[in-house]
Structures are given as structure tokens and as C-alpha cells.
């Protein structure tokens, strides 16, 4: 438990360091990209829905959690990629 809190605090500081200098033109992709990362809760969802000896309610809850987290992950990464595909530099602009 102490170790987990340690990891938490370090990660928050790391997050501040990583993000604080991002240019404003990248704010939307940053947001949708980090939003996709928050879909990591899917790990918890997989365990909840796949663990042995579940009753019906637990299976329903777990499956719903897997489905919603998957939309978050797949939708988040794909839409971020699509968006970043639009960002072009003048030099590379073939048009």
C-alpha cells in the first residue's frame, strides 16, 4: 500500500513535468490521447469479468465495464490518430 502511494505521487509529478510545456495547438490531441490512456481501467474490467466463480451480476458488471472501457480505448486512440493525421508542416505539405 505504501509502495502504491509512492508510485502514485511520483507519477503525478512525472505527469506535470511531461505536459506542462505542450504547445496549445496540440491541446485537443493531447486531451483525446490522454483520455484513451485513462481507458487503462480496462485491465480492472478484464479481471472483474474473467475471474473464476463469478455470479450473474458480477459477469454483467464486468462485461459492461469491458465494453465501455474498450470504446474509450479504441475510440480515443483512433480519433487522436485521425486528428494528428491532419497536422501538417509546410515543408511536408504535398499539396
Amino acid at each position: 500500500m505504501g509502495l502504491l502511494l509512492f508510485v502514485l505521487v511520483l507519477s503525478i509529478f512525472l505527469g506535470f513535468e511531461l505536459i506542462s510545456k505542450v504547445p496549445s495547438q496540440l491541446h485537443t490531441p493531447l486531451m483525446s490521447g490522454s483520455n484513451a490512456i485513462s481507458g487503462i481501467t480496462i485491465v480492472g474490467a478484464l479481471i472483474a469479468s474473467g475471474i473464476e466463480g463469478q455470479d450473474q451480476l458480477a459477469v454483467i458488471l464486468g462485461t459492461l465495464a469491458v465494453a465501455t472501457a474498450t470504446v474509450n480505448v479504441v475510440g480515443g486512440y483512433l480519433v487522436t490518430d485521425r486528428m494528428l493525421g491532419f497536422f501538417k508542416s509546410k515543408d511536408k505539405d504535398s499539396k
Binding site: 502514485l8 512525472l14 490512456i37 485513462s38 481501467t41 485491465v43 458488471l61 474509450n72
Partner: protein, 456 residues
């Protein structure tokens, strides 16, 4: 797969998230960064599926297939102007997923320590607030419901009571998790209500702040879920998202010169009677032909887009006009205010979609010092972010907010539907300025006719 290997995979996944986020922060490497972080996610999912704990796969398969189909369709079909709604919805889904994980773990839990109970409670609470808050934000952004702040008397008191109830339920639940079922479900209900109450008083133009904040919450909910299942990758990834959301929230607040509590609680822009004195003067309308003549003779032009450009879907014609001006030997730039639009960076995405190279996009700090040398500024559907009252009028609610000084250019052309004030309900003296010319009408139609003039 052995536990050690699975743990190692989680460590690698965490590292990939960190590198991915770092690369996501630079224009040249952003796309690659997103891919790296996606690989990290894939690795974490595969490792979990291979762990000994997971034995039943049929329902997992159902959930993953259903979620993937919905995710692909949504990501492919969403319009770039609707990105704020999309992000709000995805935030909400992440939130509800953490809530469901918390619930499932509680339901399955045999021996729940006080520590786990607190983690479950937090995951459910933050997840629930994120879920309903995001759904309401989605409704406001997509204009399925009114974007105006919703205020009722005693709102602060009600919020305060709910917070107290949540804390009391939490303490009682942690003391006796198994017997505390009622407290658990009370917390689920309270979190749903609180999410709605928290977003309801916040108006449309403050949405960049709310989305950033909800983004942060969805990360924190995942973090709490990590404490339930004692998994570091959830804690690292959740904390990274939580931190990034908070930073974006701060940047947005700074760009509006307001504190976070002011944004969250004041119902800014609600119909209040005591607005500053309205400005006297006469607006000078011009025709598209006259606007064309001004632009044709300009050697430097700065476009200032706002939410109106997104509503009119005018980004492609704006770029066309910008290209024609550039061919005409004019220096073309696009000045983007951090809170223009409905989410951080909204305007940048739209202009990028329309193929505007990002070198032409400039921030207010960069363009303001050179404003006196600019021949023409073209304001497209922006209002409050170019309101000189923010600079000059101490009685204005906008006073102190950093703006783009479009009024200091030699000529300022404002594209607008009507003389209505902006979201904040504050009159804009810019419209009556010496150098200002008003080009009334739909932004897309106006720009299109300018383009036609250039081509004709």
C-alpha cells in the same frame, strides 16, 4: 504466463505510456507518440488476458468486440467540429467503466480491508461524477440541451449537503464494507447527482475548462481502480492523465484570467442584470466587395477564428481565402486564443483539418506585439476573446482576460451574424471602433463570396 513476466509487461506498458505522452507533446512526433501509447495499452491488455486470474473469456470477448465496433465507428465518423462532444463522451465512458469495476470488485469481494473499501468508494464516486458530468457536458456541447448556465436558488447549499453526505457515507462504508451496502449504493446515486449539479451551472464558453477537468477525473477514477486491484499500471497511467487534465485546466483558467472556483461556481454569463455600461456608437457595415478591396491591398492579414467558425463549418473556405491572399503576396497568419472554441486547441484542429500548415498558427503573445503593423485582422465568429473591454474597461466582467488585440490593426473586419453580444453577454466596443468594419451574414457564405471575388 508467470506473474513475473506479467508484472514486467505492466512495467513496460507504463514506460510506453510515459514515452507516448512525451512525444504527444511535440508536433513532429505527436502521431508516433499516440501510437507508442496505444502499443502500451495493447501490451497491458494482452498481459492481463494471459494472467492466471482471468479464466473466463466468452464475456470478455463480447465486451471487447462490441466496444471495438462502437469505438471504430465513432472515431471514423465524428466530424472535427464535434471533437469536444466526442471527447466528453469518451471521458464519460472511461468514468462509468471505473465505476463498474469498483462495483464488480465490491460485489465479488470476500474480505475487503478498509483500504480496499476506500479505493472502491473513490473509484465509484469519481467514476460516477465523471460519467454524468460528461454526459451533461456532451448534451450542452452538442446543443441537445441549452448551453446556458443552469442556476437555482440554494444551489451551493445543495452541493454542500451532497458533499457532506458523500463523506459521511464514505466513512461509514469504510468502517464496515460488507454491511455497508446501503452506503455504497447511496454513494453511487450521490455521485450521479453531483456530476450533474457540478456541470449544470457552467456555460458553453467555459466548456474548455470543464472538459479538461473531467479528463483529469477519468484518469483519477482509473487510478482509484488501480488501488482496488493493487495494480501499478493503472496507478501510473491514471495519475499521468489526472496530471495532464489538471494542467490543461489551469492553462484554460489562466487564459480567461479567472480562478477555477470562479469558473465552477459563478455561472458566468448567466442572465445577470448588472452588466457594464453598454457602448455607444455606430457599427459600420461593409459589403463583401468592399471587404475584398481592403484585403486585396493588404500585405499582412491575421485571421482570428472562434466558435462561430466551427458552427458555420467555415474552416475550409477560410483556408482557401488564406491561400489566395498568400498567392497575392500577403503575409497570412491565424491567431488562436487558447479558449477559442469549446475545448482546448479546438481551432487548431479545425484549421489543421483544412490543411493550414501549423507554422501559420500563432498564439496571442506572439501576434499582439506586432499588431500595429498588421494591415487587416479578420475576426470569424470570435467575440469575447477579441473584446477590448477586457483590456480597458475595469467594470467589464471580462476585465483582465488576455485578448487578441485585433482593434490595434489598421483595419479590422468582423464577420458576424448580428450585433448580438458574445457568450458572456458582454457588449463588445470593438464593433463600434474607428477601424472596424462589420461584414454581416453567415461566416461560410461571407468568406465564400470573398473567395469568389478573388477568383473572379
Amino acid at each position: 504466463m508467470s506473474t513475473a513476466l506479467i508484472d514486467l509487461s505492466y512495467v513496460i506498458a507504463s514506460i510506453l505510456f510515459i514515452f507516448g505522452l512525451k512525444r504527444l507533446g511535440k508536433a513532429e512526433t505527436a502521431r508516433q507518440g499516440n501510437l507508442i501509447s496505444a502499443i502500451g495499452m495493447f501490451l497491458a491488455i494482452v498481459a492481463t488476458l494471459l494472467s492466471k486470474e482471468v479464466v473466463n473469456f466468452q464475456w470478455i470477448a463480447v465486451g471487447i468486440v462490441a466496444g471495438t465496433i462502437v469505438g471504430i465507428i465513432a472515431a471514423r465518423s465524428v466530424q472535427m467540429t464535434s471533437m469536444p462532444e466526442m471527447v466528453a463522451l469518451l471521458n464519460g465512458l472511461g468514468g462509468i467503466s471505473s465505476l463498474l469495476v469498483g462495483w464488480a470488485e465490491y460485489h465479488a469481494g470476500h474480505e475487503i480491508t478498509a483500504f480496499t473499501a476506500v479505493a472502491i468508494y473513490l473509484a465509484v464516486l469519481i467514476g460516477g461524477v465523471t460519467f454524468t458530468g460528461s454526459l451533461l457536458a456532451y448534451g450542452k456541447l452538442s446543443e441537445k440541451i441549452s448551453g446556458a448556465p443552469m442556476l437555482f436558488p440554494g444551489q451551493q447549499l445543495v452541493n454542500g449537503l451532497i458533499v457532506i453526505a458523500i463523506v459521511v457515507c464514505g466513512v461509514l462504508f469504510a468502517m464496515d464494507p460488507l454491511g455497508g451496502q446501503n452506503y455504497f449504493f447511496a454513494a453511487v446515486g450521490a455521485s450521479f447527482i453531483f456530476g450533474i449539479l457540478a456541470v449544470a451551472p457552467i456555460g458553453g464558453a467555459d466548456m474548455p475548462v470543464v472538459i479538461s477537468l473531467l479528463n483529469s477525473y477519468s484518469g483519477l477514477a482509473a487510478c482509484a481502480a488501480g488501488f482496488i486491484i493493487l495494480n501499478n499500471v493503472l496507478i501510473v497511467a491514471g495519475a499521468l492523465v489526472g496530471a495532464s487534465g489538471i494542467i490543461l485546466t489551469q492553462i484554460m483558467c489562466k487564459a480567461m484570467n479567472r480562478s477555477l472556483s470562479n469558473v465552477l461556481f459563478s455561472g458566468f454569463g448567466a442572465a445577470g442584470g448588472s452588466k457594464s455600461a453598454s457602448y455607444q456608437g455606430e457599427a459600420k457595415p461593409i459589403s463583401a466587395e468592399d471587404a475584398f478591396l481592403i484585403l486585396e491591398n493588404a500585405s499582412s492579414v491575421v485571421f482570428v477564428p472562434g466558435y462561430g467558425m466551427a458552427v458555420a463549418q467555415a474552416q475550409h473556405v477560410v483556408r482557401e481565402l488564406g491561400d489566395l491572399l498568400a498567392e497575392n503576396g500577403c503575409d497570412v497568419r491565424y491567431a488562436i486564443h487558447p479558449v477559442a472554441g469549446r475545448m482546448p486547441g479546438h481551432m487548431n484542429v479545425l484549421l489543421a483539418e483544412a490543411n493550414v500548415p501549423y507554422e501559420q498558427l500563432v498564439e496571442p503573445e506572439d501576434v499582439n506585439p506586432t499588431m500595429e503593423t498588421v494591415d487587416v485582422t479578420v475576426v470569424i465568429g470570435a467575440n469575447d476573446v477579441v473584446n477590448p473591454a477586457a483590456r480597458e474597461d475595469k467594470s467589464s466582467p471580462l476585465y483582465g482576460m488576455p485578448i487578441i488585440n485585433v482593434d490595434k490593426a489598421k483595419t479590422c473586419i468582423v464577420l458576424k451574424r448580428s450585433m448580438k453580444p458574445g457568450f458572456a453577454g458582454v457588449d463588445n466596443p470593438l464593433f463600434f471602433g474607428e477601424n472596424t468594419r462589420m461584414l454581416f451574414g453567415d461566416a461560410k457564405a461571407s468568406i465564400s463570396s470573398l473567395v469568389a471575388e478573388f477568383k473572379g
